[in-house]
Symmetry: C2
Subunit: 238 residues, 2 copies
Amino acid sequence: MKQLVEERQGETASRCGHTPVLHAPPVLPVQDVDGEIEGQRVRFVQHALIFLEGDPADRIFQVVDGAVMLYKLLPDGRRQVVELLGPGDIFGLSFKPVHDSSAETLSPALVTSYERSAVERSPHFLARLNRCVQSQICALHEHAVLLGRKSALERVASFLMRFVPLHTCPTHQDREQMLATVRLTMTRQEIADYLGLTIETVSRAFSELRRRGVVSIEKQDEVKINHVCGICRLTGTH
Amino acid sequence: MKQLVEERQGETASRCGHTPVLHAPPVLPVQDVDGEIEGQRVRFVQHALIFLEGDPADRIFQVVDGAVMLYKLLPDGRRQVVELLGPGDIFGLSFKPVHDSSAETLSPALVTSYERSAVERSPHFLARLNRCVQSQICALHEHAVLLGRKSALERVASFLMRFVPLHTCPTHQDREQMLATVRLTMTRQEIADYLGLTIETVSRAFSELRRRGVVSIEKQDEVKINHVCGICRLTGTH
DNA sequence: GGCCGTCAATGACGGCGCTCAAGGTTCCAA
DNA sequence: TTGGAACCTTGAGCGCCGTCATTGACGGCC
């Protein structure tokens, strides 16, 4: 993942002052896997801005590698991260001619973009798009439950469960992997904005989980999962 | 809308004890407008259950007339309404073979359902589906902001703005219409579960809006909008 | 090494919204 | 008209989480 790091650094600060901007035009024209539509691949550094809410939405994007977040801002500066995306996820969809949210990388990322109008003319691509979108809708539903109905501790526990690879009957070997350290590529502020909390509350929730023994905080962005079932029980979902 | 009212009444109470159930098979086989796929039309009474979270998801649905809500339950009974749907909206999508949420009518409703596998084979239909889904994703993003970052008063104000037909430069005639009474087909409990609040807090927010003079509560489910801009300013979005 | 900037953890305190309880409305049926 | 059920409103009290401020850890830079 390290080799994906940089290619161009952004020019200006984003509206909310969080991150550098990369507004360079896409780089590598590539043929879509299906051979139907021409996609363009771009590498982004960590914390690069891919587009801003309100930018014209004439291309759609797919994460190839790395992580991307979508967020929206209120006029007074409050921010809500509305989606966390990984490899295979699609973003940049909008029913209006402009994007409804901003997109920013959480890690060095490789992204493919496609011309929107071309995508909408390709049945094959639409079918793939359809499948991607459905899983994203389910994720959004799940997230609405988290934001609307869960306590701070439940939110943070649910967040950590995202990083546990298997949710079902782990074999011993799997369990070993699950106990491995999870690297959070997000700052406390980003986590807080995703979970609808403040950084302080996120921090306190992490401390509480540590106090209860279910996790150990190795470094700031490295969490060791000691007790998967323990965390799972705290999510409120099970 | 009154003539759509009933056709069959449900047999049992739903899991959460909110509503009667309608699990009757679809009624009127109709040809899709595009002549490609056979859809089946069903009329539902108000507060009818269309499907439950966990039911097999082998059909997808489209609202023709009336209103439908999608909700999810936590094991301890907490409920979150994740989507409010009106004419044209599609639901029943899931990336798993079962539904990720339950669907219930908020008013008498006319719904068309299509066989899922057939839909996914029809390019024409996929294109339509794609457009519908994109606007729903934007709505889910907007709702995440509401749930994660808005105060109770802002949430209720935002909720009311859904019912204001025009958001832009109303002519005098439009403004007259906008000042007309809005009928909420939702109970306070349903509104609360949609906004991530309790009924008491929703009630207090309505009272606060009344105290400020921006609305009048005519009957329990009829709200007169006195001052659109006033409400709009309280949403936090503008 | 010393300085500073960034980020996280923690404590004190206050307020928003939840809980619990009581009373009021609305509406239907007898 | 009256009783009752369902729903809504309002108040009192409290707890979770936000706000504000301090401290500490870490890393870059001169």
